[in-house]
Symmetry: D2
Subunit: 378 residues, 4 copies
């Protein structure tokens, strides 16, 4: 079968995440980049287009134009990758969905719950696939945990402690370059900074790993570093359907933490500890308290998760491989749609519905904070 | 100078903590056990008295009798060690204070705020020393952190994440033997279990290490393991005076955790990570994010803290040494009182005022939980 | 400038390492695969050629033919990647060098010292670049250590402890699939197994990181697992020029170790600890014994090393990125050769001379073992 | 039964190890110190006698006098603790054995193999107990490993990697105070420094944990730090009876290591990793490569080992407890001798025969080094 083609919106010369998506897709040569609207500046768009080697005529000045033009081509793109700041996700995704093109969009999905619901509705109506790139759920060990817990091995889950501290925005007067600047700017980031950037990763990681669904939250959100307008430290108490509880912490001034997403899951028959910075292993604790460290590649990793591994254990895989794994399942599904072999059970990636949960989570937290840290339903 | 003499209330044949205090005091031969009321059963009291080798006439049937008799003797005890279940701390401590005897009491200090306030008042009026044995603050590394932070090296503290999970009470129908039974029993433990046992350690550790004073709390307390009446999992959001925030987690069903008190402190100029199970080291992170692991015994440990070490670094010290360090400062102070050389600045141990904070903390949390997880002033 | 073109010898359908090289080169899109002799079976060669999408006419039945044909083409390959079993490296590399094509060859370089010397001579005479793919020296932290030590910060190095245990060949009667079978087979692997596969990595890692040159070795080589003919556990004592000493351990039956290359370097002014499985960090110890953990991406990483990073710290890089870094410098040099801008100081990868050291190391160890564990000059 | 009485030779005002033995014995109140010859200076002896509170008439000017006088008393000491520099161990131990007094002696046992053999012979003839205080084998986890391996769970042991690096003597011109000075001085330390101090611990640890008996050794011993006369870095290759191999490394200039005794044992059915600085846990790896971390106090610790624990898991035990455990078994045996209930199987501590192995090990290494690093039988 012919290779898939994809386009990209965002990912221009100063973007980090665009290049990261391109490398992740390229890792397994899953699809070929053939079109793009890489920047709001057409000049910058062209520079990137040149660099990545696409046909100049498929470098577009606007995403609207791109969506229409690509939809009209015989050899048009199979899917689009949206890697712009949060505030523009909604309208871009909408444009491609409306033109019948599958979408991959960075998280958080969009700013408003209504927007997210509309994207869900559109994807459903148009029968289109929609990946929200919660990168870390691509790790083999994360995929293992999901299957392990789903099989009931931990028993009923009692509590979840999850966190995602970073330290890169700890200093007053420093804004972390382009990456930090847009995140701290309400115009580009929406009403949240830290909770949108990190908190939604935590929310999604717990949802994916445990299968738990949040009922209500109580959030304490603070803008601590002098000069910040948006939150840079958040603690969220969580109640799940079925009675389990959780606590999520995110921070951008926790000096000493690089990118420290961790999830600890306590069930009636054991525990699971996982950290994305050491994602090559997972700690599994039995009901008797025996602590086992499973490595990616060990016997004991669920076969369906292990199958995503590219290298023998001890030959370290990392961020690109995790992202690549999301795209592996997504592109498999896109192929299958073209082939007519698609079934829902093939989906092994976070979808637009997961993205909706993230937006609901943010808004429930914002209400809780506005009301003086009350419990708010999702 | 002659060796100090001490008595003990509690610590009978089935007690773990009584023997632990005795060993800790004996480690540096700081004082001699010469009197006791080791059990409410006089027979058991006698058995322990025999075992530890005290004069049978100084084995007492009641603590009231003991307090009076010892106060009346020329060679009476210099201090008493109270290691009974929480509900009886107040009246026992009061009896000894009223008879002019210095007190060491296990934590939490007592059940009610008014009781704690009365003990504070009594100790002040009678000019008596009062140690509350928050064991872990005796570790050399804990003493180092306190001095390091007090010297301003972290700058303003922004947030504190502290936790104390254990897993020994995770199983339905199991009560952890005598230790667990009284803790889970409202009659002996008061209105809290986990929060009293573990939460007060967390509260005290953060207070001692950072010098921060709690302004208000928002607590979520749950009794999760089927059959528990009292809390076995708690999350407490904290606001300190001056605006810093914190989050404390304690649990008794977190399978895989033995006794995992951890404190992480994030300041504007760096961070400190400390874990009591690996108390031979402390992680210090600079403003630039450089992570340093200091070992007890390394250059760089504050000299006043290092002085408590008994063994070269790498020759591991543990729980007994931590407890012994509390008693070292306490007995130094008792000596100094006898000598007339005492000054307040000699106190390097948690006092009855620290104990009072713990009781206030518990009650504010109980109010918060009762009111649906509201903020409550301490 | 136009993209480089490369060819591959080996890397057919059942090969792991061929695909790994291809992915590593593709990571930064450094060169395009345009020719290959992927298998001794022409059918298998074609299958791989198809899979990777090269022109069928540039799928060759023999490497000799490929070397000649590609050398003759206008659009011939700029370099070849040799990923066959060890015994064939020499003649393949020789063929491409003789035809004026730059070479990248897997380690160990070849079987005999004379062969290695001839390859060195040929590369020099023909003025060709030659990369030997000691993967792990591509890690940013390895590049940091090399520069850190070269700058004299550790002072004179006193001793080096290095090891590379694996556990995958621990079981009698199991041969680790195709990968293990050829390694354990003298016909394909030469006179050594474990020492060639792992020992040469250790030898190279120490040479690269420290700059030390081995003077003599004393080796103890054992074939331990029943059925093994070649060594599967080796300890080598090392004396370096200048008087420092070292000890290297490699094993294939050390159950619990995946791919555990570790180097510990002790100098008069401090120490360095590095482990390839946790290559995102490096432990640096000062003369005063203060232990610092540097992360890839932290301030403190030598800028010339840090420049190889693709992702922010905490966004994990791994094996592919390390290999990709070797190719990044190699392809930079190949470009520069074409441009006429090449200088020796651009070389930041292990060369054919490093490969020669590895072969000498193996042979000195073999002599030592044959003579009853005597000291043998390299 | 009445408490045991013991005497001490060495352990005067500047001694570290004497006080350490006293604290360890006192931890469980196993015996009472009632006599001593604490220093070659009688004045210093008296000062220590006063400090520890023994009868001045039982402070002796010479160990010969002490041995005779104590043997003659009705209430004489039950055993003596010898904590002097190595060179004097032999004659002191001999004097007490000849006077019928049980002996505990610090390691290494003595300087010469003939001396060690004579002490073995004397202990046997006189039917006396003899503890050599290899502290680290007292750890609960060490006791667990010994039983675990003895029960055959690892299968045949294939290789052992053991090491004991320290960094305290890394600096030229610094001698580590009184502790370092005598160790580096041939007159007090004998022909070895590092190998005697650390190497014998390694030798004993491997012997105790695995039950393996050394057949021959090949040693490389170096005096590296400028000014050292005796060895400060040693690597010893080992062959055991039955064919397993080992490699031991010890160093005193390995900056960053405090007291880092580690043993890694690889068998045909799994592996064991143990480190004395983290002796509260042990890593056990199954034949399938599954890594388990057992904590002292966990289910899974051999009951006979677990019985030595004093505190619940997570309530850290350390050096004193390990040393105390050696004395616990030793004093049990001394009691049993007095009672007539002693049997050989009660011995759970390193004996004079273990001490003899250590002396033989040192001398075989010295011969190997003298002969240019040849294999030498023990």
């Amino acid at each position: 079968m012919k290779k898939l083609r994809y386009g990209m919106v965002g990912g221009g010369p100063e973007s980090f995440i665009g290049e990261a998506h391109r490398k992740a897709i390229q890792l397994d040569a899953l699809a070929e980049l053939t079109a793009g609207c890489f920047s709001r500046s057409f000049e910058k768009c062209r520079i990137t287009g040149d660099m990545v080697g696409i046909d100049p005529e498929r470098c577009y000045a606007s995403y609207e134009e791109m969506a229409k033009a690509e939809a009209a081509r015989e050899d048009g793109i199979d899917f689009v990758v949206v890697v712009t700041p949060n505030a523009s996700h909604y309208s871009i995704c909408k444009a491609f969905l409306e033109n019948g093109i599958h979408v991959s969009c960075d998280k958080p999905l969009c700013l408003e719950v209504e927007q997210a619901e509309e994207l869900c509705r559109l994807a459903r109506e148009k029968n289109l696939l929609f990946l929200v790139t919660y990168t870390y759920m691509g790790h083999v060990t994360a995929k293992h945990i999901r299957r392990y817990i789903a099989s009931g091995k931990l028993g009923k889950i009692r509590t979840v402690m999850a966190e995602y501290p970073q330290g890169w925005l700890a200093r007053e007067g420093e804004w972390g370059g382009k990456q930090g600047e847009w995140r701290c700017d309400p115009a580009q980031s929406g009403a949240v900074n830290c909770l949108g950037d990190l908190g939604t990763h935590v929310e999604n990681a717990v949802a994916v790993l445990t299968g738990l669904k949040i009922k209500r939250v109580l959030a304490r959100m603070d803008a601590v570093v002098p000069g910040r307008v948006l939150d840079d430290n958040d603690v969220v108490l969580v109640e799940y359907e079925g009675g389990a509880t959780g606590c999520y912490w995110t921070s951008q001034f926790a000096i000493g933490h690089d990118n420290d997403l961790r999830v600890r899951i306590y069930g009636e028959n054991g525990s699971i500890l996982w950290s994305q910075e050491t994602s090559e292993k997972v700690t599994v604790i039995s009901a008797e308290g025996i602590i086992t460290e499973l490595h990616r590649g060990n016997i004991g990793i669920e076969p369906a998760a292990a199958a995503y591994g590219r290298l023998p254990s001890g030959h370290t895989e990392g961020w690109y491989e995790a992202m690549g794994n999301l795209y592996r399942s997504f592109t498999d599904c896109v192929y299958a749609r073209k082939n007519g072999t698609f079934t829902e059970s093939m989906i092994d990636f976070p979808t637009v519905e997961d993205g909706l949960e993230g937006v609901k989570f943010i808004h429930a937290c914002l209400r809780s904070q506005a009301n003086g840290n009350t419990w708010e339903e999702l």
